[in-house]
């Protein structure tokens, strides 16, 4: 018989979302409740395996009694709270956040953002042709992955994944301040001079494609990247006894990228350099 751990029973608390009664376990966020109720709230910096950072502010909702809007991803639901997810005020802030990001960052590989820009009628061009952009060149300094910070929305997820939330390597941090803040290793050195262990767990959590496999980066540059032709096969990594899950992304019978399922109860989407990047032998045909 399989024993399923149930955990400590959690009290249900009741509050209101958009006029409807919502019941969620104590400790849930407003975002959890919105998703349970089938309400769409856009998110960018929120990660299913990471603690909320609430940096992007695209998930803001209106809570009665609160002076400012609140981020749904991190604010815990409270009994009696009255939440409005689609007010003009909340939608205005989301629209502006999308415009601010799209006018300064290359969002071409950020999933869903194009839909949201349309839905919220965001017009990033209205800041004019001289609006400051990040203007970063891709950093290609190793054979495994590329850091294209022109696509970085500074969501902190890679820093958190590299740091105390998962990998404990602490190879990267945010450096600088304000609009000049960038993700960097110490002294802004190449990755090869840093503490990076090439686990690729930062790529796993990157929401914008700023961090990508070298293989994906090269194929995109060559125009051969085609996700509709890719298959995804989840298997078990054969390198050691931990038994991590690997999801192999295959295009034209070549592995082009490796991810890992976030719902794996042991690894939560994290891998090591071998599982993430050590697949070349599989396709060595000589």
């Amino acid at each position: 018989m399989t024993v399923t751990p149930l955990g400590i029973p959690r009290r249900l608390l009741e509050f209101t979302i958009d006029g409807q009664e919502a019941r969620v376990p104590e400790g849930s966020t407003i975002l959890d409740a919105c998703r349970a109720a089938g309400k769409e709230v856009p998110t960018l910096c929120e990660g299913d395996t990471l603690r909320p950072k609430n940096a992007c502010r695209v998930c803001v909702v209106e809570v009665e009694g609160s002076r400012t809007l609140v981020p749904a991803c991190s604010r815990k639901a409270e009994p009696g709270m009255v939440v409005h997810t689609g007010t003009e005020r909340a939608r205005h802030s989301r629209k502006i956040v999308l415009e601010l990001l799209a006018s300064s960052v290359d969002l071409s590989t950020t999933p869903q953002v194009a839909e949201w820009i349309k839905e919220y009628e965001a017009k990033p061009d209205r800041f004019g042709p001289d609006a400051a952009r990040l203007n970063e060149e891709p950093k290609v300094d190793n054979d495994l992955y590329v850091r294209d910070y022109d696509k970085c929305i500074l969501c902190y997820k890679c820093v958190d994944a590299c740091g105390d939330q998962w990998q404990n390597t602490f190879a990267i941090s945010v450096s600088g301040r304000g609009f000049d803040a960038r993700i960097a290793v110490e002294h802004d050195a190449p990755l090869t001079d840093s503490a990076c262990v090439y686990c690729g767990n930062c790529i796993e959590v990157c929401p914008t494609g700023a961090l990508s496999f070298k293989s994906e980066f090269d194929m995109r540059a060559a125009g051969t990247w085609n996700e509709s032709e890719q298959t995804e096969t989840t298997t078990v990594c054969a390198y050691c006894g931990v038994g991590c899950n690997l999801t192999l992304h295959v295009q034209d019978n070549e592995i082009v990228k490796v991810t890992s399922p976030h719902d794996n109860p042991v690894t939560h989407g994290n891998l090591c350099i071998k599982g993430r990047f050590g697949y070349q032998h599989v396709q060595n045909r000589d």
Binding site: I96, S175, S194, A195
Partner: protein, 605 residues
């Protein structure tokens, strides 16, 4: 944690600077030569990581000695504290006063903020740059907190010890002299020069400034010092909190939160230890009251913090002092050392069996660190980025423990509350804003400085006291995060409720008067530049919004009417999102002053 260090080595000077702070390294794990024992055990771990809060003092130590922070120096500091170099690099690059690139040992910070710009800072800068050679790095600085003596410049020469010289009001000649030989630059005028009312009867908060020797504990005591602490010991912690609550004291840093309620909430937290933090990171453009108190009456803060800590059950207090206040730092360091030597701080304060000690932490040029939770991160050795609330500091503050954080002015108000009693204190001012209030008056007035008036005085009264000049065009209340009012709105009562009713804010008590010397659009642009420079970059509305605000104001600096209408509409939309969706007060208020200038003063009309 598996730390990786590069091959860069510190120079002897850099090593000495760090060792002077942390003591010599004990093993090769911390950067000493390798011994046999080091091959058998590793050092570090939790004990070393618990010293993370020494990262910022360590960066200061290197920057003070060398003038900038090299790779080798940063790596050595990281080894000593078991801090990942990437994180330390992120911290070092966060602060404007640090440089991770080589620069001359002498840096001259020339204030180009509002009061100084109106007093000719642009010409001053140009003149200084023409005169000074490559041996001095001239940096344009946000408000240096010397607005009563605008324009101002601060020279810092790295070395052992670090030398500083303030030139204010600065001429090209004096600023160049301060930078080229800080030791022989003329002394700053006494702090009382910033208090035009000094010596007058009836002052409560400022009564000792100018009258007391700020270096003498005995003089402080003979001027009524330490009677409030004795009274506190008679009342007991709960009695002190009751008095403070009954007095109606609210925070003077800008947010106006009831102090008694904050103290009570912290005192009742079961989690220990409790901490007390004094926010002396006074960086709001136009604010200089905390500096004047610290320079003129430093023991008052030491005594007030002892009382606050006693009431809230804290045994350790931190003063987070902004890095641009060298004289306030010296005076407060001296006061703390004297108080400690004489038993007013330490294991057994005044023989009452209560232990309390305090420490100064210097900021390093970041306005955002005045935000209460960013300040905690800064002390703890992390980037000074605000935390999201809840949890609030009274529950999880410094080092994750219950923390009371108060502004300098708020704390020194506790002394008269205890000496005169809550009812007498509450009788000063208005029903909702009780007690005396300090106003930082600068700009187009004859006698700029700190003025103490009971709450309820009108804007006109404050301006009249300071001798407002003709051709008044606008008054900025509350600093860059505040709002402009018209010259004809002099009947606004300067209370929290009065300014709110008038649709503006009191903020930290800034009253900055402007005539037409500098066009209003230029001032607004400077405010926008300030917020762009000082945004920490954590959240999108503020990080990019402040840039877009500055760009729009730049476009319309010479335009008005229909030609500016499009950009003003854009500013309103961005401003609204910044106010609604930013994490902290910086982004939420970054559009206040611009909005008030458009709506109240009719800028760009």
């Amino acid at each position: 944690m598996d730390l990786h260090f590069g091959d860069s080595k510190p120079t002897d000077d850099e090593r000495a600077a760090v060792d002077a702070l942390l003591g010599p390294p004990e093993s090769s794990w911390e950067g000493a030569d390798r011994s046999d024992a080091d091959l058998r055990w590793a050092r570090g771990g939790r004990e070393a990581r618990d010293r993370r809060d020494l990262l910022l003092p360590g960066l200061h130590a290197i920057n003070d000695r060398i003038g900038w922070i090299s790779e080798g120096a940063l790596d050595y500091l990281c080894r000593r504290l078991t801090v990942p170099p990437a994180e330390a690099y992120g911290v070092a690059t966060f602060y404007a006063m640090f440089s991770v690139k080589p620069r001359p040992a002498t840096v001259l910070h020339v204030c180009t903020d509002l009061a100084c710009t109106a007093a000719g800072a642009p010409e001053l800068c140009a003149g200084i740059e023409a005169r000074l050679g490559p041996g001095v790095s001239v940096e344009r600085s946000p408000c240096l907190g010397l607005c009563e003596r605008a324009p101002a410049a601060l020279a810092i020469r790295a070395g052992d010890p670090v030398r500083t010289a303030v030139s204010a009001p600065a001429t090209v000649h004096e600023a160049v002299l301060a930078a080229s030989s800080p030791d022989s630059a003329p002394q700053e005028p006494p702090a009382a020069m910033a208090v035009p009312q000094a010596g007058q009867d009836g002052l409560v908060l400022l009564r000792r400034v100018g009258a007391v020797d700020p270096e003498s504990l005995d003089d402080y005591r003979s001027h009524g010092g330490y009677t409030a602490l004795r009274r506190a010991f008679e009342l007991g912690p709960a009695g002190v909190i009751r008095e403070v609550t009954d007095s109606g004291l609210v925070g003077r840093g800008g947010a106006a939160f009831p102090t008694g309620r904050k103290w009570q909430a912290t005192a009742s937290q079961p989690d220990h230890p409790h901490y007390l933090v004094c926010n002396a990171d006074e960086s709001e453009p136009g604010t200089f009251k905390d500096r004047v108190i610290l320079e003129g009456d430093p023991y008052a803060l030491v005594e007030a913090m002892t009382i606050a800590a006693y009431a809230t059950g804290a045994h350790k207090g931190y003063v987070y002092l902004r890095g641009e206040y060298p004289r306030a730092l010296r005076r407060l360091e001296h006061a703390i050392a004297q108080a400690r030597a004489r038993g007013f701080l330490g294991e057994d304060v005044l023989g009452q069996g209560y232990a309390f000690d305090m420490e100064i932490r210097r900021g390093a040029g970041a306005y955002i660190c005045g935000e209460e939770t960013a300040l905690f991160n800064s002390i703890e050795g992390y980037r000074g980025e605000p935390r999201s609330k809840p949890p609030f500091p009274v529950e999880k503050g410094l080092f994750g423990r219950p923390t009371v954080e108060n502004n300098v002015e708020t704390l020194v108000n506790v002394l008269p509350i205890l000496t005169m009693g809550a009812p007498a204190y509450a009788a000063i001012g208005t029903g909702k804003s009780t007690g005396p209030k300090l106003f930082c008056v600068s700009g187009s007035v004859e006698r700029p400085g700190i003025y103490e008036l009971p709450f309820g005085a009108t804007l006109g009264e404050v301006l009249a006291l300071a001798g407002v000049r003709d051709k008044l065009r606008a008054v900025l209340l509350g600093g860059a995060a505040g709002g402009f009012v018209r010259p004809d709105e002099t009947d606004i009562p300067l209370t929290f409720e009065g300014t709110r009713e008038a649709g503006t804010t009191l903020g930290s008590g800034v009253v900055m008067a402007f005539d037409d010397t500098v066009p209003l659009p230029r001032l607004l642009l400077r405010i926008a530049e300030f917020f762009r420079d000082e945004s920490c970059g954590q959240c999108v509305p503020c990080r990019v919004g402040t840039v877009r605000q500055e760009e729009a104001l730049h476009r319309i600096v010479e335009r008005s009417g229909a030609a500016a209408a499009g950009d003003i509409a854009l500013l309103r939309e961005v401003g609204r999102a910044m106010r609604d969706a930013s994490i902290c007060g910086l982004g939420q208020t970054a559009w206040n002053a611009v909005e008030s200038a458009i709506d109240r003063l009719g800028a760009y009309a």
